[in-house]
């Protein structure tokens, strides 16, 4: 295998970890409440813009931007849950799709209106330069994004499986009434799930803001990436999202390198459709 190919695969894995991070938010909400958030990609976009604004106002790069973006988006998640999701969850499916889709438009075009349609990029900041490992060259910001995203995704998995908060959330997902009889408030648990899911997108957005193009419509592409990841990994499964995210990162990078940059999105979408058609339960999930 040539060096370039290894370089491409490593780059794909690092980006794939970030995909896994924001997709685990989508899979959490889907698995727990059976609602698909069509605004999920736009949450990531919002995280990118928060990181950008933080940098232009205060400097500091991702070290300051990432925690702030996580906080801001977690707040957005809770507000969205109480203002919209709680009510449309009980409504017809058309209302669920319309509600989150409308939210996506609202976020995307508010940002478009405020910042314009131009591509923005993060100015040079403290996380810059490239490292060389055994002949591989890796940008510091990509390395940081990949490693942090991987650790946080694993942390999220532990939170859901090993803590009492995780058990409570699982209980609400299994049976709301039974959970309520055990003294667990479904409303609180679901709001926490939205905070975690949206917070994960905020963190992911801030992490990739350093090397991704920042544009209001980026949420559309990232939203589809999240759907692909979740459908590949199985709905409701964080480990599934992690494996699928890494896999998609690699497939995207490889097809971009081997076939051509314009085809990398097409390859991912077609893969998504094939999975929906032939294995809708995903790689690891159960229907």
């Amino acid at each position: 295998m040539s060096f370039v190919l290894v370089q491409v695969i490593v780059g794909g894995l690092l980006l794939g970890a970030v995909y896994a991070l924001f997709s685990s938010g989508l899979t959490l909400v889907w698995g727990m409440m059976n609602i698909v958030n069509f605004a999920h990609g736009d949450f990531v976009m919002l995280g990118m813009y928060v990181a950008y604004v933080v940098y232009t106002l205060m400097g500091g790069g991702p070290i300051l931007g990432a925690p702030l973006a996580t906080l801001v988006l977690a707040t957005v998640g809770v507000v969205v849950y109480f203002a919209l999701i709680r009510d449309i969850m009980k409504g017809p499916m058309l209302a669920q799709i319309l509600g989150t889709f409308g939210l996506a438009l609202l976020l995307r075009y508010s940002v478009f209106w405020w910042f314009g349609a131009n591509f923005l990029s993060m100015p040079q900041n403290i996380v810059g330069g490239t490292y060389a490992f055994a002949g591989l060259r890796i940008e510091a910001s990509r390395l940081l994004a990949g490693v942090v995203a991987l650790l946080v995704t694993l942390g999220l998995h532990l939170l859901l499986t090993r803590t009492s908060l995780g058990s409570k959330m699982l209980a609400v997902a299994e049976d709301q009434t039974a959970a309520q009889l055990m003294g667990i408030r479904p409303d609180t648990m679901q709001a926490i799930a939205w905070a975690i899911a949206a917070g994960a997108t905020g963190l992911a957005g801030a992490l990739i803001a350093n090397f991704f193009y920042i544009v209001p419509t980026v949420g559309e592409t990232l939203g589809i990436v999240a759907f692909v990841t979740v459908s590949l990994g199985g709905f409701g499964s964080v480990p599934g999202a992690l494996v699928a995210g890494l896999l998609i990162g690699v497939i995207e990078s490889l097809s971009g390198y081997l076939i051509g940059a314009i085809y990398k999105d097409i390859v991912v979408y077609v893969l998504f459709l094939l999975f929906l058609w032939f294995r809708p339960q995903g790689l690891m999930g159960k229907m």
Partner: protein, 323 residues
């Protein structure tokens, strides 16, 4: 009886509108309302009556638009000849998308339709034969009447009115046929409908294909009126969104819902664009987003459902209180 009076009033207004309000802007606005009403009514067949929320309907719109412009740009024929071709491609594509995804629960279908639409847009954008990012143009100077290229919006207005009438008639006929009853049963409870022997997958697929055919016609008409199609105007996700919002605002699953939605949103968009200029495009969609969120939250049945709900007690005097 009362229904027929209402219907004739609506038809009379529709016929008289461009003669009473005859400025070019008003006639163009009227034609656009009808055009979007056709597309939204077509969406309504599968999204409203069958309850399968397609977010990628622009794919069929694009089939029609590209077939119409392609028949001129590639073969020198009138764009009219592209319409049957567009319908065939759209219906075939609907079958390819529908057979595997309509089995799954609704969210999957919505996501699959988005992915298909985006894939199509990316492919067309990179296909030189279809004009790539520039798109295809229709005849700049009409050679004869069959090119359907007019300066005034008036001929388009009446053409669209006829097509809309056909679309609504077919929808009405469908809801009163066996297929309509199946669809209603499936929408209420697919499992119950299946257990009673309703062929759920096949019925949903037929609705999807019928919807695709009419959406394709809308796309062809759109391209003829504007004289060109490019990946954004023919396959952009925002067209899907507009179609869907119009139907949902007026009332998905109600015959005249899409028309009401189009009559509200098209003037809103045109006026905000002409007032705000380039900046307006962003704000219009902010407004669109806000409107859908509010509908979903407070009136998921759409505006017309306000009236149908009020009429129910009088139609059924035995019911003392609604659940």
């Amino acid at each position: 009886m009362r229904r027929w009076i209402w219907l004739s009033v609506v038809v009379a207004i529709a016929i008289a509108y461009p003669l009473l309000l005859s400025s070019p802007f008003q006639q163009r606005l009227g034609a656009l309302v009808l055009l979007y009403a056709i597309a939204a009514s077509a969406w309504n067949i599968v999204g409203g009556y069958a309850g399968q929320v397609s977010v990628g309907h622009v794919v069929f719109f694009g089939c029609g638009a590209y077939a119409a412009m392609g028949s001129y740009a590639k073969f020198g024929l009138s764009p009219l000849f592209g319409i049957p071709g567009g319908i065939v491609i759209a219906v075939g594509l609907a079958a390819i998308i529908g057979v595997p995804t309509l089995r799954l629960s609704g969210h999957y279908f919505s996501m699959a339709t988005i992915a298909v639409a985006e894939t199509m847009r990316l492919i067309v954008t990179n296909t030189d034969w279809l004009g790539a990012a520039v798109g295809l143009s229709g005849p700049t100077v009409p050679r004869n009447i069959f090119d359907l290229s007019f300066l005034s919006s008036l001929p388009y207005y009446y053409l669209f009115l006829v097509i809309l009438a056909i679309t609504l008639f077919v929808t009405w006929w469908m809801t009163n046929s066996r297929m309509g009853f199946y669809l209603r049963a499936i929408k209420d409870s697919e499992r119950a409908a299946r257990s009673l022997g309703a062929p759920a997958s096949r019925t949903k697929l037929y609705a999807y294909m019928l919807s695709a055919a009419f959406t394709s016609v809308a796309g062809a008409l759109y391209a003829m009126m504007f004289g060109f199609v490019d990946p954004e105007s023919g396959l952009g996700i925002l067209i899907s969104v507009k179609i869907l919002i119009m139907a949902a605002l007026g009332g998905a699953g109600l015959l005249f819902g899409p028309l009401v939605g189009a009559a509200i949103l098209v003037p809103l968009e045109e006026i905000s664009n002409s007032w705000l200029g380039g900046k307006g495009a962003g704000l219009t969609f902010v407004l669109y987003g806000a409107i859908i969120v509010l509908i979903a939250r407070f009136q998921p049945g759409g505006l017309l459902s306000l009236f149908t709900r009020r009429r129910k007690p009088s139609a059924d005097p035995g019911a003392s209180h609604a659940p």
